[in-house]
């Protein structure tokens, strides 16, 4: 997982609330065997609609999503986060997120910042006043800014620390790598080994 400190990218206003995981990615895509390549699946039901925000030129390469409340409700599928990540999103802002979705996001390096409903409106207005404009997400300061507009977002300390350090679950365990190596040095010689194969 890459470290996240300050990021600037194209902001996308998603004027919808209650975007559930089936809308983020429908179940038909769950049969796949990869953990990547889900960009086409993102919001797949809406992507046929020319009016949909991601189909509009200035937003096509969006990287920061500003959505209505209750984003990511529904199933626990990690695919929802993979789809956002594969499309290119680095951060999502909303006034409320589903817990599991937030947890999954933190593990995959996607920032989920909680902002007030008021600030959501302000960000939407600023983006739409100038479609395609950039937003700067500063995780250290916990701010999102477009031009002069600066809004504060909330994120829990532990997730913030992991994102700043670029640590997923595995990365976190690998901080104990010395302990793992030390443990391995003490393992009994009789312990099973699959290689070389002996049939």
């Amino acid at each position: 997982m890459e470290k996240f400190e300050v990021f600037t990218g194209v902001a996308v206003p998603l004027r919808r609330s209650n975007v559930d995981t089936d809308q983020i990615i429908p179940a038909v895509y769950l049969k796949r065997i990869t953990k990547t390549g889900f960009e086409d699946a993102l919001f797949s039901a809406w992507r046929n609609d020319p009016e949909f925000v991601l189909n509009q030129e200035p937003y096509k390469n969006g990287q920061v999503l500003v959505a209505g409340p209750d984003f990511g409700t529904g199933s626990s599928r990690e695919h929802a986060v993979w789809a956002l990540r594969d499309y290119g999103f680095k951060a999502v802002f909303a006034s409320k997120f589903a817990d599991i979705f937030r947890g999954n996001s933190g593990k995959q390096g996607l920032v989920t910042g909680v902002i007030t409903d008021e600030d959501t409106e302000k960000l939407w207005a600023a983006i739409e006043a100038n479609p395609g404009s950039s937003i700067t997400v500063n995780l250290v300061e916990q701010t999102a800014s477009i031009g002069d507009l600066v809004v504060h977002f909330d994120i829990d300390e532990y997730t913030k620390w992991r994102l700043l350090e670029g640590l997923d679950d595995i990365g976190l365990t690998l901080r104990d790598e010395q302990a793992i190596t030390d443990f391995e040095a003490k393992r009994g010689a009789w312990m099973p080994k699959t290689l070389p194969a002996r049939n």
Partner: protein
């Protein structure tokens, strides 16, 4: 200084602590053996690729193909595209990450939980994981073995460790001597009927007592296999001479001084006198009958001599409702004698009962007998090695003469991911471990049974035990 008496599970846990958790964070446990199959691994490997991480210990990892593999025409390309893609992905991942794989057609291919023990990789006192809930099977050796999810598979591939919260312990005491015709499968079905499908949740089960001690390794595996059906992630049996004798001489078993050191350590593993369990359950082996299920979860079972229960007699409202639903799905009436239930198909296979002893036991029952008219009998050895051994012993001929289908190794009808499925409404006696709605095919009806009951049922066409065959032949003589 005296040390606190410990259980088997606690000893294995303590000996694998890489880092002790604090303030609610989990312990970090070392994993000695990681078994991999095609269904739950592709995203884990892709995650590694994405993060640019290698597999930390390919030498502690082994892969085989089982869930999707066909059991007929194994030399032809796999027809179903999803199955084919998963198997091809596993082969490519194994190659890319340097992992040993036993593919379809290979003598060591087979159900992952049959392959590990057979190669001598599963040993007492080790930790075993696999992205499959029936990993509990390996606990029969006194290993701490549990199923994990795909994210955890990736975690183990990358770090060879797993963050885990410590379990509670439950002793399952089975004392006495099994009567003829009663087997390990009947013990575990009776245990699950007793404690319920959620009774073991949060526990590691330890199967103890004289009845367990007298069981073969393969029978112990049958019992540990179904620990998950009681809700427990792991089940264990303390290692003893039976364990050591089973292991000795297997391809990956230690040799020479390593063997001696291993046995010395393994002998320290059994639960100490005076150690306490968080919960205890008792079962009398002396009075146990063959056990079969009537419902749609493995806890809905009765003695074969009993009848289909009446939901009206069940006091717990949830269980009562579940029983009503189950009877409707199973198309059974309360009070019907279990022995009067006619089946269409008998399936002998799955990681619960597809090892050589299971095949021998079933073959001994059917030898020289005639299969019930119109009944389909599918025999699917747990691994290619088991199949070869059975053929060397002439068991395949017994099955074929009887009219059974002698198949190639894999999970097969246990979960019907390959073409081996029941038709809607079809009723089966199955030696597998799950009788869930639709598990063996959409609308399919499953009765879980032992290999002996499976064989006797294939002869009589109704749920039966070998004792019924003897009763029948006595009648003919009279």
């Amino acid at each position: 200084m005296t040390t606190k008496p410990l259980t088997l599970a606690e000893k294995v846990w303590n000996d694998h602590l890489v880092a002790k958790g604090s303030n609610g964070t989990p312990d970090l446990l070392y994993i000695d053996l990681h078994l991999v199959h095609e269904v739950t691994s592709p995203q884990a490997f892709d995650g590694l690729r994405l993060a640019g991480r290698p597999v930390r210990r390919p030498d502690l990892t082994i892969a085989t193909e089982d869930h999707n593999t066909p059991t007929w025409d194994i030399d032809k390309p796999i027809a179903d595209p999803t199955s084919r893609t998963q198997i091809e992905a596993l082969r490519n991942n194994a190659k890319e990450f340097g992992i040993r794989i036993h593919s379809l057609g290979d003598a060591e291919q087979g159900i992952v939980h049959v392959v590990g023990p057979q190669l001598g990789l599963t040993m007492p006192g080790i930790t075993v994981v696999c992205g499959d809930s029936h990993t509990s099977t390996h606990g029969a050796f006194g290993a701490l073995a549990m199923g994990i999810g795909t994210s955890e598979v990736e975690h183990v591939l990358a770090t060879q460790t797993l963050p885990l919260k410590q379990f509670k312990t439950m002793a399952i005491n089975v004392e006495g001597t099994l009567r003829p015709g009663v087997t390990a499968k009947d013990i575990i079905l009776a245990v699950i009927a007793k404690i319920g499908t959620g009774g073991g949740q949060g526990y590691v089960l330890e199967y103890r007592g004289s009845a367990i001690r007298s069981l073969s390794m393969e029978a112990r595996m049958t019992i540990c296999n179904m620990s998950i059906e009681a809700g427990a992630r792991a089940g264990m049996v303390a290692p003893d001479e039976i364990t050591f004798n089973y292991l000795k001489g297997r391809p990956h078993a230690p040799v020479g001084a390593d063997w001696d050191a291993a046995v010395e350590y393994w002998k320290t593993l059994p639960t100490d006198d005076g150690a306490t369990f968080d919960a205890e359950v008792f079962l009398d082996a002396n009075t146990l009958d063959p056990f079969v299920t009537w419902g749609t979860n493995p806890g809905q079972g009765v003695s074969l001599l009993d009848s289909v229960p009446n939901p009206a007699d069940i006091s717990d409202p949830n269980e009562k409702a579940a029983a009503e639903r189950a009877l409707e799905y199973m198309d059974l009436k309360p009070g019907t004698k279990m022995k009067d239930i006619r089946v269409d198909t008998v399936f002998l296979g799955s990681c619960t009962n597809s090892r050589i002893e299971d095949l021998r036991a079933a073959a001994a029952v059917i030898e020289g007998k005639k299969k019930a008219d119109g009944l389909r009998f599918m025999v699917v050895p747990g691994s290619a090695r088991v199949r070869l051994q059975a053929e060397a012993e002439g068991l395949d001929k017994i099955f074929k003469d009887f009219g059974a289908e002698w198949r190639f190794a894999g999970c097969s009808m246990c979960l019907g991911m390959n073409p081996d499925q029941l038709a809607p409404g079809e009723r089966a006696a199955s030696t597998s471990n799950r009788n869930f709605e639709g598990r063996q095919g959409k609308g399919a009806r499953t009765h879980l049974v032992s290999p002996l009951v499976a064989a006797a049922t294939a002869i009589r066409g109704t749920l039966s035990s070998p004792a019924d065959l003897i009763a029948e032949s006595n009648q003919e003589v009279n």
